[in-house]
Point group: C2
Amino acid sequence: MTLSFTLDPAETEPLFLQIATRVRHAITSGQVVAGARLPSARTLAAQLAVARGTVDAAYSLLAGEGAIATRGSAGTVVSGTEGARIEPVEHTPFMFDVEPAQDPATPLPFQIGLPALDVFPRKLWSNLTVQAARSIRPTDLAAADPAGLPSLRHAVAAYLGVARGIRCSPAQVLITGGYVGALSLVRNVLLRQGDPVWMEDPGYFLTRQALEAAGVRLVPVRVDQDGLRVASGIVAAPKARLAVVTPTHQCPTGVAMSLHRRLELLAWATDAGSWILEDDYDSEFRYVGRPLPSLKSLDRGQRVLYAGTFSKTLFPALRLGYLVVPPELATAFARASRLLTMGQPALEQHVVATFMQKGHFARHIRRMRMLYKERRLALAKALDAAFGSRVTVEMAAGGMHLLARFPNAADDTVLAKRAKHAGMMPSALSAMTMAHDQGQGLLLGFTNIAAEDAPAIVARLARVVDQ
Amino acid sequence: MTLSFTLDPAETEPLFLQIATRVRHAITSGQVVAGARLPSARTLAAQLAVARGTVDAAYSLLAGEGAIATRGSAGTVVSGTEGARIEPVEHTPFMFDVEPAQDPATPLPFQIGLPALDVFPRKLWSNLTVQAARSIRPTDLAAADPAGLPSLRHAVAAYLGVARGIRCSPAQVLITGGYVGALSLVRNVLLRQGDPVWMEDPGYFLTRQALEAAGVRLVPVRVDQDGLRVASGIVAAPKARLAVVTPTHQCPTGVAMSLHRRLELLAWATDAGSWILEDDYDSEFRYVGRPLPSLKSLDRGQRVLYAGTFSKTLFPALRLGYLVVPPELATAFARASRLLTMGQPALEQHVVATFMQKGHFARHIRRMRMLYKERRLALAKALDAAFGSRVTVEMAAGGMHLLARFPNAADDTVLAKRAKHAGMMPSALSAMTMAHDQGQGLLLGFTNIAAEDAPAIVARLARVVDQ
């Protein structure tokens, strides 16, 4: 197709904007229709006697608006009306009217590791954010301490003292980009390529992938009903540089590491001069008995680095977490924060600090603990009602997911795949194991399933399992 | 000293909070004074017949409030009233009233690399943040794409097309934690320990430190009046894995790389299968002639990774930047984003995208360009008035700082040190060189010096130089 319009050299508007305006008008007026192929940039440039780059800029602007799309050899075509927003926009240079093509999906049923998004106190959070935004001073715009905003480091240190039995100074606390950010710091400061590292088997896939990407030598160490089998680790790699563990609720089995094993692990690290990374990702959510103390609270030899995340207690899009390091490592980690990330955004840190200082954090955790307890029970009941003796549900003492085993069903990876097709997102246990078989099962996140919805969602799962 | 109070077992308040309240009262009532040493946690625990950890938690809370401080062998002492905020707080567990001890400092005169903080449109920014905060939906709380919010990736791609002549799809754009975050991604995906890397000499100290920390082999390549001497690099390390360059305004000399050198560099990278990282940190600020096109815009062989930062165009505490990678690297970099950081906070990304879409970004850059031009000239004039023939001012065609050489003064590192004592923060040129002497001089940031303040601030500098 050809476009017939001319440009006005007397107009003050830049040429590329004139072109974009005219093409946009041709689309919105119906002169060209969805799927129509536009002339190539080269052709249109020749027709209009402008530089090729001028047409490129116009097309790039329209593509950003979703009005047109580049389709490889099919050329540049006009987008369909679904999804695309084609609206005349005010003509300011560098002005774009861009929206993400698709609406962000709601959490899929059974997705693990996600807090309940429906009940987060958005209004309160937004009010605190508004207050923080309205009180920005010029000096707040300069980069803050890469190790973290002092008020947040204080608040985290005090919280960990009270809630996790950890005695540390704010100088030992680094504010990180979530758990992944903490792990990046640990990799950077402590690990070199080829270093042997103990990894729980089964274990958290992100830890495994990040450590693999760092080129260390992963040593899978079996997890049993008492947690990590320290003796097996010592046999496999007595001088491992680091052991990464989830002692409170082992990820993914939910097992709590026994006191005996904890002391054994600490003794090994002290003797071998090794380090331990305690990933305490969801310790706040325990439904039976008292909260377990952290491994770090037993760490007399200062061998434990402790990582926690606000992704589970607040929300993942916040991208904030914390890492407590032994005093002797504080300077090295502060330096690494500067060279790896230069720190996290000030506004978010400020809002979290205020949220903690004002007591909202503790209240929110208490509310979520009660809610998750209810949702967990509702899911377990629904599974029992739907599957009866065909399911074994392992309800670990805490956490954000259950483990359901279906002994007579297909392979768990097959079940997970089928479920995904049906719009659900359970995780296969076997996909999280490295060397030590733990059998088959589906990890079912319950945090985002309202109690009243559990029967219907489990019915959908049953259709997949029984297929 | 001893504290005399008792605890009430019938009170519903936890013991550690009772202790904290009573100690706080002793301080606010004047019963104990600033500098007084408190009983050790062990002593007080014995006196009150509670666990040592209970007193620790109380002291930790008070330390977080700034009411008391731990001073090593001097024990725990009551803080002075300056700086410390000692106020009775509402007694909610995990509730803290913590403020950073010191007010954030205003930018120091001559500090380099900082945009003008006094004129940033805080009100507009805060309004956009408020809108974004008020429209958070539950699904926005889940982690966004680690490579970046789609709307921001689109906006950056369109901006770079228009402003820097870079044709790229949003899929090639990664939203990073500023320039340092972009550099971390590059290190992670492209570099292994021992890899030779060309580095401009003199060059940006953060690039140098971050690459040194990554264990690569840095190859300093001399910079002359045409920019990086590509031929010298080829002699020193013909098969370097990467070259990091600042072609628009060489950091710190301000030199623009000549077209000849640019083509030479691209040809080398294509032949050698090497990569180039273009750090285009302040290209927006050019005061003479037209903006220089980016190196990336000439990159037919797709060897250039292009990094830009919002730290200079917006503000550093935002911690956002972008990296454009060749299409063949897009998947590897998206994966690395996930394993290194899991992406940047959604709220900030959303605000920046809106700021760009609505045309504020372009307007802000235009305003800053005019302001910086004025401040730069005012500083140059003030230097000339104060020093006359004793100074040579090198005003690069753009950027955010000048280079002032004082041929008969002390060593530039001595001058920088003296200036720091006097509350100013110029940077010594010689501290940025590795192997190739570029003479002596002070880099003087002008962005935060109002034109009318320049004479007085230069007079302070003159006292330091003439000391």
